[in-house]
């Protein structure tokens, strides 16, 4: 009889446990089966020189400082390039929505001002119903300098304002393969209203390949290589070289700090993709870094409510 009571007790307890689990299980079953989006494909909105598919959340203002030192090959007297001359770009990106970012910037090299529109078209989902992320980018670039040859030639190449403008169109396709590895390809078209050298073509086609590999929770290895596809200038292979960079992302809470070596001196795509003159095999590489600080400008409670209700799901 004692045994019997004991058995009943045990069974009752187990039924009770079962019921508790059931209550939790019933909650799990009622969870809306929404598509989970893949997040953090890259640590930041730029990898090294190129944009990534990432955009920041609505209402974020991102202040960016991009800096490139001089060549290592300038030697010890120039502290391997750290003495300069350096080039710098200052920029602000603002996220109008979770998918749409606008930005402005100014590079010291070529006195180039730039503005861009960036839109996330597709987002990779956890269940692979959407296997890749796709982002589009359009930039407009404005050379603010004076024509250096004006006094010599007596002709101002910037006589027309439109001659100062160059455009870039880029599609970015990326896939996060696992927690550590993300790869991206970026087909690119650059258009100069006025060509850089006399016999250049106005349009330049290129394909960027970039990737990152996470080593720890806060550190990733990054790499970037840009193939130039069409012939846009005579002696292209002697004068200019493909841009190649390797580096690392260090992420420290509100900042992302990116440090790398690259053979490109310029920071803006319309400059470094077609007109990189330095070569890795001659030691003409330089140290560079990007610092980004994100400020939350506005994110109202209403937005958050809308977000929870869910919008377009990929």
């Amino acid at each position: 009889m004692k045994k019997f009571v004991f058995v009943i007790l045990i069974l009752n307890i187990s039924v009770k446990l079962l019921a508790q689990e059931d209550l939790l299980n019933s909650l799990e079953n009622e969870q809306p089966q929404s598509k989970q989006l893949v997040f953090a494909s890259f640590k930041g909105t730029r990898l090294i020189n190129l944009h990534t598919i990432e955009t920041l959340g609505k209402g974020s203002l991102d202040f960016r400082i991009s800096h490139r030192f001089s060549d290592f090959s300038t030697g010890a007297s120039n502290l391997w390039g750290l003495d300069g001359p350096a080039t710098i770009r200052l920029g602000f990106d603002y996220s109008v929505s979770d998918r749409f970012t606008i930005g402005i910037g100014r590079s010291s090299y070529g006195k180039l001002a730039d503005g861009f529109l960036k839109y996330r078209i597709l987002r990779q989902t956890m269940d692979n119903s959407m296997p890749v992320s796709l982002t589009g980018l359009v930039t407009m670039n404005l050379s603010l300098g004076k024509d250096p040859n004006k006094t010599v030639l007596g002709v101002d190449k910037y006589e027309k304002f439109s001659s100062r403008i160059a455009y870039m169109y880029q599609l970015m396709i990326a896939r996060k393969f696992n927690e550590k590895l993300t790869l991206q390809i970026s087909p690119t078209l650059i258009h100069y209203n006025l060509v850089m050298n006399l016999n250049d073509k106005n349009d330049i086609l290129a394909l960027g390949i970039s990737g990152r590999y996470k080593i720890t929770r806060s550190i990733s290895l990054t790499g970037e290589y840009i193939f130039r596809i069409n012939n846009y200038t005579p002696d292209q292979s002697d004068l200019y070289h493909n841009s190649a960079s390797i580096g690392m992302d260090l992420e420290t809470g509100g900042h992302v700090f990116q440090v790398f070596v690259t053979n490109s001196f310029a920071i803006n795509e319309v400059q470094f993709i077609p007109y990189t003159t330095s070569r890795w095999d001659k030691g003409q590489i330089r140290l560079g870094f990007n610092v980004s600080r994100v400020f939350a400008v506005s994110r109202s409670a209403k937005d958050q409510k809308d977000k929870i209700k869910g919008e377009k799901k990929w």
């Binding site: 009943i8 209550l23 209402g59 956890m126 927690e179 806060s218 994110r299």
Partner: protein, 186 residues
């Protein structure tokens, strides 16, 4: 032998009856419970909210359960939100936090009134289970709507949530969690 068989049949009947009665009873439920946590840091306060906590309370046996998807927490700073999911909570590995327990006091939640109760059960965050007793205030209205308020603290190390090596935000070791939810009988 015969006795034992009868016992087994009896016990099985008892269990069946229990499960039956549970199935018939109505349960307090919500899928829009508010849950938030807060931590003060020198640079920027960490403050996140979710309004998508689902929870159930069974007034018959006073069992309670709650579940929230980690990536439903919204931060003011979207970068922080990403770090929270990716680095601290690893929400692709551990997508949800759950609680499942029993109300200790013998309260009748089918009667309108205010009840101060304690709930004992298992809290699972970041894939790590902890036995906890949590104080809660329950208000049952005339129309049998139940409102629950609870505050409790979560120690990061209890749930193996690691603060990264290089971080400018000093994150508190203990995070204050607030729950505020309205349940309907279903």
């Amino acid at each position: 032998m015969v006795k034992q068989i009868i016992h087994i049949i009896l016990v099985s009947c008892l269990i069946l009856i229990r499960i039956e009665t549970q199935a018939q009873n109505k349960i307090y439920k919500t899928s829009t419970g508010k849950i938030s946590f807060y931590s003060e840091t020198p640079i920027e306060n960490i403050d996140a909210h979710s309004s998508a906590m689902s929870s159930a309370i069974n007034p018959t046996n006073r069992e309670a359960a709650a579940l929230v998807m980690i990536n439903s927490f919204k931060f003011k700073n979207s970068l922080m939100q990403e770090h929270f999911n990716e680095k601290y909570m690893e929400s692709d590995k551990y997508p949800k936090a759950t609680f499942s327990g029993v109300i200790n006091e013998n309260v009748d939640l089918m009667k309108p009134g205010n009840y101060n109760v304690t709930v004992t059960g298992k809290l699972t965050i970041h894939g790590v289970e902890q036995n906890r007793t949590i104080n809660a205030k329950i208000t049952v209205s005339e129309s049998l709507q139940l409102h629950l308020k609870a505050d409790f603290n979560v120690k990061l190390e209890d749930h193996k949530i690691k603060v990264p090596e290089i971080v400018f935000h000093k994150i508190a070791e203990v995070i204050a969690v607030k729950i505020d939810a309205d349940y309907n009988l279903k």
